[in-house]
Amino acid sequence: MTGTLEAARLADDAPFTIAGHAFRSRLMVGTGKYRSNAEMVAAIEASGADVVTVAVRRVNLDRTQEEGILHHLDPKRFFLLANTAGCYTADEAIRYARLAREAGFNDFVKLEVIGDRETLLPDAEGLLRATRVLVQEGFKVLAYTNDDLITALRLEEAGAAAVMPLASPIGSGLGLLNPYSIRTIKKRLSVPVIVDAGVGTASDACVTMEQGVDGILMNTALAEAADPVAMATAMRHAVEAGRLAWRAGRMPRREVAVPSSPTTGMLGA
């Protein structure tokens, strides 16, 4: 149960807004790789997320009865954030973004331009070019990028609505590899910073939010958990805990011990 005081403290937080659109949850989730649609829906419900990502793919003509993701997720309840996953050039990503917008839900896109098939690390040059074109066309671009400050700054200059640096490679579950980079990006950018990819478990999500970032997007950590609903619940708490801890302001780190109990009033030897 969430206590009244606890609820009030969470409610005190600044709204999580991207390009003028306010979201309830700082946890965004993907819809890929679940064992079943029922499990996906249950996990998303448990996560409390209102933003869910989807991919654009060809309709399977041999199985036209096969239902798309919208049969399972109510687009009136969830904010559908289309991605350009699987795109290796700016032109390809632009094409996918245009198709996604034509579906008619919103003009947000999670832009991915991947530079390498083995690591799935982003292509900074392609990202910048695609961002400029899409922003010109009125898209709200949320750009998946490296944990590199300069690329993040360039993406902001190019008009990205949010910048999404990785914690570690997509689907790796390695957690937050470079807290310093993420913290620095958050300090220097004005647009929201949402960490995307690499979170493996609840402690990863918590420590990521403790860097002061605006939100986290995750998929595999939930879909590949032995119990996705339980992990989604843990992630919801972890994101809230990490956010609240960051707002609370942590104590300074010291390399010496400082006693917590009085050093006076000790018994005579």
Partner: protein
């Protein structure tokens, strides 16, 4: 005997498919059992709005892509 109605071969989602000549994109979706509000149509690399599907005629050799949202991260 009546002559067979003329047909055209087009590429749909990368696969060659044969249909009667004079087919519109709206006809194509109907023949494939797809609801127009459930897919986005790209015709020779240009997106076609739902309202325009009935007026867009397909020619032999055309490329059509039919996409929708699937699970992804």
């Amino acid at each position: 005997m009546t002559a067979a109605a003329p047909t055209i071969t087009i590429t749909v989602n990368g696969e060659p498919k044969t249909f009667p000549a004079g087919l519109t994109l709206a006809d194509l979706l109907e023949r494939l059992g797809l609801r127009p509000d459930a897919v986005v149509v790209e015709h020779n690399r240009a997106i076609v709005r739902r309202a325009a599907l009935g007026a867009a005629t397909v020619q032999a050799g055309d490329e059509v892509e039919l996409v929708h949202f699937v699970g992804g991260g």
